[in-house]
């Protein structure tokens, strides 16, 4: 969707030239959210602003939908892309409605269409249209203002959004909220987004792919997991953080490492104890996982089965916790650290048993990921 070819940007100064971007080539796929990440001055904002021609290319090409952006009229190009900046920049002399509807108005939509669209957009960012549409920016909090900023960028339903540290000026609590709202939105809308950030956590949370920059050069362009598990050089691994193993835990989900070996160790809850015991001894097993209606309710071992009678359902010792398949490994590990248990059952969104996870399972999986790490 967006293609940067050998992009180079030099600022000529009185005493010396500053090379903001050295030679950047990058492809952004349709529907993906790519984070341009890096320290101050690395060129990420410059690259963003070159995309809608707020800055001029020194050399190289930028193609949007396979057409060179130079062939478009500057103003029309910008109207076809959403633009959100850190300082928000809502027009103080216009109402929220007028702010959000500015691009549709420039494009000549009729009044009713604009009004409907404004309400639709305000709804999408969780701002009640009736309350907010006639307010002025100065009456809203920072978080609310930026949500309006996002709505304004989506005004004419552009395919591309350019966002420059959009949530940077918002306090941490609201920032998390608005990030979540935005992620949900993106899931629905599937826009192509170029998102500038200097925060690795934000990048991992928001990005489908991350492009790391340093002093005008693109160092690595990968998915968050690949970036964390296979940093290409010292700078990247430092930038990403020494705790990247922990960060990865936030990206991998239980279902990615669920161990299905124990599926053979399953028995139904209505089986009587004696039968279970016989089964255990015959197959040289040490325990069974008890399922009722396919849901794990506990386990039984020789000890229990020896001394009690009745259905295993009644005798089963409950697990100290269970894991849903979509939970991140971070939450799984957190559970493991808080309770004792050799392993835990994993269930799907209906609650049905799909396998187990133990600490060793996590270790095995992660060691494999980092195998090519040492450099």
């Amino acid at each position: 969707m967006i293609r940067y070819e050998n992009v180079r940007k030099v600022y000529t100064g009185k005493n010396e030239d500053v090379v903001a971007l050295k030679d950047v080539t990058l492809d952004i796929d349709k529907g993906s959210l790519v984070v341009l990440l890096g320290p101050s001055g690395c060129g990420k904002t410059t690259l963003l602003r070159l995309t809608n021609r707020l800055e001029k290319l020194t050399s190289g090409k930028i193609l949007v939908k396979n057409e060179d952006i130079k062939t478009f009229n500057e103003v029309k190009l910008r109207q076809s892309m959403g633009y959100v900046i850190q300082q928000i920049g809502l027009f103080p002399n216009k109402t929220i409605k007028e702010n959000v509807g500015i691009v549709p108005k420039l494009l000549g939509w009729n009044k009713k269409r604009i009004d409907d669209r404004v309400d639709e957009l305000l709804d999408m960012v969780n701002l009640d249209p009736t309350t907010y549409r006639n307010r002025y920016p100065v009456e809203l909090s920072g978080g609310q203002q930026q949500r309006v900023g996002v709505a304004r960028a989506l005004g004419a339903d552009p395919d591309i959004l350019l966002m420059d540290e959009p949530f940077g000026a918002i306090d941490p609590i609201n920032r998390e909220q608005i990030q979540n709202v935005f992620l949900k939105l993106q899931e629905k809308l599937k826009k192509t987004i170029v998102f500038v950030s200097h925060d690795i956590h934000e990048a991992i949370k928001m990005g489908d792919k991350i492009a790391i920059f340093r002093e005008g050069q693109l160092l690595q362009y990968d998915t968050p997991i690949d970036l964390l598990t296979r940093p290409e050089n010292r700078f990247v691994s430092d930038f990403v953080g020494a705790d990247r193993a922990l960060k990865v835990l936030g990206l991998i989900r239980a279902r990615d490492i669920v161990n299905k070996d124990y599926s053979k160790l399953v028995i139904q809850s209505d089986i009587p104890a004696e039968e279970a015991l016989n089964n255990l001894t015959a197959n040289k097993k040490r325990f069974f996982i008890v399922l009722k209606n396919n849901k794990p309710i506990g386990y039984v071992d020789k000890q229990v089965l020896n001394y009690e009678k009745g259905r295993v359902e009644k005798l089963a010792k409950p697990f100290s916790g269970q894991i849903e398949m979509m939970e991140t490994l971070r939450d799984v590990l957190s559970l493991m650290l808080m309770s004792e248990g050799a392993f835990y059952p994993v269930v799907d969104d209906k609650g049905d048993f799909i396998g187990t996870i133990s600490y060793k399972d996590i270790q095995d999986k992660l060691v494999n990921i980092y195998k090519e790490d040492e450099d």
Binding site: L54, K76, Q87, G89, F91, N93, K94, E139, L162
Partner: protein
């Protein structure tokens, strides 16, 4: 007091005509001052290098006492027969008004938050749209404030211009002093004061009306 009222009633027509003359001079001068000053103010926001120099030059003119300026202009313009009368008065008024108008225009435009300008450009507003929809509405109240200062100042200077033959309410003061006619002097003084106060109030109202609602709310909330 009675004598004063008597005087006013007897010379009502003259007073009114002088008032109109006064208003006429100030209005013409303001029109020219704005036509020159506002574009100049916009110009120096685009070309910062000139900003300091232009404003300093305008400031120097403001420092010169009005009667002195009239005095200096007299020999300069007499060869063209323009040393006396309304023309030198209007020229002086225009010069005096440049500082408040240029400076206010410059400050007004500069004070528009650059983040807003960036957001506007990035969203796809053309230069013209940006000026029309955002910069102008925000800048106009401040520019009007500048014109207000200039107008009130001009009313005072025009009174002095009576001494170089420009007419206006200063004539009442001048002739009143010459004839030892106190009521005439007081009428002149009061009329010109009323005019000044009225114009000031009028322009203050204009300022208020032209301030966008979003900005007024902002000020209220700050308190």
């Amino acid at each position: 007091m009675n004598k004063l009222l008597e005087y006013i009633l007897e010379n009502y027509n003259n007073i009114i005509s002088l008032t109109w003359e006064h208003i006429f001079i100030v209005s013409i001068a303001m029109v020219f001052a704005v036509i020159i000053g506002v574009p100049a103010g916009i110009f120096i926001t685009r070309y910062e290098v000139f900003a300091k120099k232009v404003i300093n030059t305008a400031n120097i003119f403001m420092t010169i006492p009005s009667i002195a300026l009239f005095g200096i202009m007299l020999p300069l313009l007499s060869p063209f027969n323009l040393g006396l009368g309304k023309v030198p008065a209007i020229i002086a008024l225009v010069l005096y008004s440049q500082l408040p108008i240029i400076r206010n225009t410059y400050v007004a435009i500069k004070n528009v938050d650059p983040a807003i300008v960036d957001a506007a450009k990035g969203t796809g507003l053309s230069r013209w749209r940006l000026l029309k929809e955002i910069e102008a509405p925000l800048a106009i109240p401040v520019i009007i404030a500048g014109v207000r200062t200039a107008s009130v100042m001009s009313i005072g200077i025009t009174a002095i211009a009576a001494y170089i033959g420009a007419g206006g309410l200063g004539v009442l003061i001048d002739q009143g002093i010459n004839r030892y006619y106190t009521e005439m002097v007081v009428t002149g003084a009061i009329m010109v004061s009323i005019l000044a106060i009225f114009v000031d109030a009028f322009m203050a109202a204009l300022e208020r009306i032209s301030t966008p609602k979003g900005v007024i709310l902002g000020r209220k909330l700050e308190k």
